[in-house]
Subunit: 454 residues, 2 copies
């Protein structure tokens, strides 16, 4: 079919990938080893067994290029996958650009975001390992909702620590999780030692993903039947999300096109790695595809952080990883893209960015909401504020192409819808959305507190 | 493909219907003519031209079996249509039923419900007629959201009068409409004469669809560039929604199955007629398919109302139609399925029900929410409370089949998701959902006020 014919590019169900793609097989430089948070020696599997099952730990360290997707997981994926790739024709027309803009729509999952792609296998692997209960953190709530449904499907219990500012901004996220049987707590909570400590020292904190992770890990460590699940950052999460990019490549082939630029928003890096990593082998073979991660200026991990060893959480319970970071004690402003308020970045994304294979860009909150509104009014879909970062970056690329007279092919990951974010849009309409920028001084202060690692 | 293989039954894009199906061509008894609300004489087209364009009026009175879908409308439909038909395998397993349960999922539309199926052609036909602005009413808000997007796509303005109780219950619906440029007012409002009158006489009214319709019509009549659009009840709306059932028939063929029973919730009758009417010709040829409309016991139009001439609104601005009605002045209790709080019923549904071709069933609010929760926890989709009426009825059929050892084939219309209804589910979890039943006395009192027509 010609690229001029289709608006909705749908893969038949039999094209649903049978394997996850693992970028570790193709990296020019491997990521630095994780370190035990106490001994600061390289991690060994037994460091992780208190919180992860062995089958997930094996994925975490695997260098295999392809990892088979379990049959039960594929069966569940088929409810909404392969997800559609859309040509944004009405947006292109509005921008009057010669560029072709495509968006991969992950909001078609029953929970409304890409997070279910990894929630399902994580619940599956934990069930296989005999675990009865999972704990996790959530920022905007997309991940907590996804894990609530996934655990229900495998008959596990689920406890979610939700960052306080998002818990307050998005009151119905808790109900959404409850619909699937997930229990949701505002973090910091009084259920954990670290939560109580933070509440004592900073009673007015908006919370951070770093604090919520500490609470979820502390909860998991204390019970033998309980493990912890993380919705981003780690290698196995990036591996699971690779189905997004694998599908995109096949869909672009269907319309005889290939992207000049692939764009995803980036908090911990899961949806970005999901759409971008499957293009890495092509890029290494000389294809001129640009892979762009987009973050908020209020939490500019890749664009302003340093590439250093740091904790993944506030309490120092997680492994120390070499990654781009703003410091694990950094409390980002309470912006509306709660999913992007993370001080660190996936070590895989970090290494590849460090090696020049990925690009990064930081955007201001207001321009992102402007782009979201334009998208809703042309393409009809109300995006999550996180995903709107990718939309804004794609619009910028398309306008640049127009200025330069270059008909670029642009693909963005529309990682989720914004049906639970309408309160943020209400603030936007009321003029309450401010451009919060992390200053150089804040960054320097925050980075002073990195752990000392030889 | 065998019926045992597929979970998600997807039609290729080229199977998107090219024609709407008009049940008026096949009705054993034609519907009674509408009457002018002032003269009480049979309607003539010029009675309707103050609020509808002639191309829609022609559809309203057409007896043609097939009406071509305009090319521009089909192009927009392709963003989400053909919509998927799912086999509810996890629900079946949970119920341990020998029955096959299928659900047609209309929540995949960008606004989250079937309402966009008619909003798009209504905006298109009005645009063709040179109209600049549309007014409408909305109950739960699904229709107002759909019309807001449809008008934006055709560069029209949109004003939505939203029933007060729903406006309060679902605060983010207004923002959703605003995302598409729609203006939304709580009804009764002070923008119209009828609104001001109701506010004076019943300042505490929860509002009704009947009042909101009066306001929208009054607004439309006053401006030459403005027409009115209705999201249910009328013939042209049922015609547009026929794409649902047409697709279902092809999808059932794909898995070599045919329904024993087809179920839809029913307020004004649009989603029910959409899935049910295309089965009428089969039924008339002797096929044993049951077509079941499901309504709340708090507003039991078909099961407790009378088949009589009545107004469609409170102020008596709309034509008088022969339909099942509880009386146009009836104020249903403020139940959470706001889309089902309508005193009347589509005249086409009414006539066919009167002739024994359709069945009806009324359900209590709490059992409907219980069914919604079971559905979310098995199939993963949080349904709109309206759509959950169809789910509950389908579950009842499946359990009856189990009891009788009959492996029935059951199809329900999942007309929309409940992402904007989480506040209702919060009330449900808090034990605040009550079973509101309309008493015999209330019904008799309400029916005393029907207009006198010879």
């Amino acid at each position: 079919m010609s690229r001029e014919e289709l608006t909705k590019i749908i893969l038949p169900e039999e094209k649903l990938p049978k394997y996850y793609y693992n970028v570790q097989a193709d990296m020019p430089n491997p990521m630095a080893p994780g370190l035990n948070p106490k001994t600061k020696k390289p991690l060994v599997p037994s460091d992780l067994t208190p919180i992860f099952p062995m089958n997930i730990i094996e994925q975490e360290v695997s260098k295999e290029r392809y990892i088979e997707i379990p049959k039960k997981v594929r069966e569940i994926y088929k409810q909404w996958r392969p997800s559609p790739l859309y040509r944004a024709r009405r947006l292109e027309k509005e921008l009057d650009t010669p560029c072709r803009i495509y968006y991969k729509y992950e909001g078609v999952s029953p929970v409304g975001s890409h997070k279910l792609n990894t929630a399902i296998p994580q619940a599956y692997y934990n069930k296989e390992a005999g675990i009865k209960r999972l704990t996790t953190e959530t920022g905007a709530g997309q991940w907590g909702t996804a894990l609530s449904l996934a655990t229900k499907m495998f008959d596990l219990e689920c406890a979610v620590y939700m960052v306080k500012i998002s818990f307050k901004q998005k009151p119905y996220r808790r109900v959404f999780m409850q619909m699937y049987g997930g229990e949701c707590f505002s973090s910091p909570s009084d259920r954990t030692e670290i939560g109580r400590r933070v509440l004592r020292e900073h009673p007015d904190t908006p919370g951070t993903l770093g604090i919520a992770i500490s609470e979820a890990v502390e909860d998991a460590v204390q019970r033998d039947d309980t493990n912890y699940a993380l919705g981003s950052v780690l290698n196995h999460v990036c591996i699971h999300q690779s189905i997004i990019g694998q599908e995109v490549k096949m869909q672009m082939e269907m319309v005889d096109d290939y992207p000049d630029v692939v764009i995803g928003c980036s908090g911990g890096g899961s949806n970005f790695s999901g759409i971008a990593f499957p293009f890495i082998p092509d890029k290494l073979k000389g294809k001129k595809v640009r892979l762009v991660a987009v973050e908020p200026v209020a939490c500019p991990t890749l664009t302003k952080g340093v590439f250093a060893y740091d904790y993944g959480d506030v309490a120092g319970l997680t492994p120390i990883m070499k990654m781009y970071t703003l410091g694990s004690n950094f409390t980002p402003a309470g912006i509306h893209a709660g999913g992007l308020r993370y001080h660190g970045e996936s070590p895989l994304v970090s290494q590849l960015y460090h090696d020049g294979l990925l690009e990064a860009k930081a955007l201001k909150q207001k321009e992102v909401f402007d782009a979201a509104l334009l998208f809703a009014r042309t393409e009809g879909i109300v995006p999550a504020p996180e995903s709107a970062h990718a939309i804004k970056a794609a619009i910028d690329e398309a306008l640049e192409g127009k200025k330069e007279g270059v008909a670029k092919s642009i693909v963005l990951n529309l990682s989720g819808h914004g049906h639970l974010d309408l309160v943020s849009y209400e603030n936007y309409f009321s003029g309450l959305i401010e451009n919060v920028i992390m200053s150089e001084k804040e960054i320097q202060d925050s980075l002073k507190k990195l752990p000392v690692v030889e």
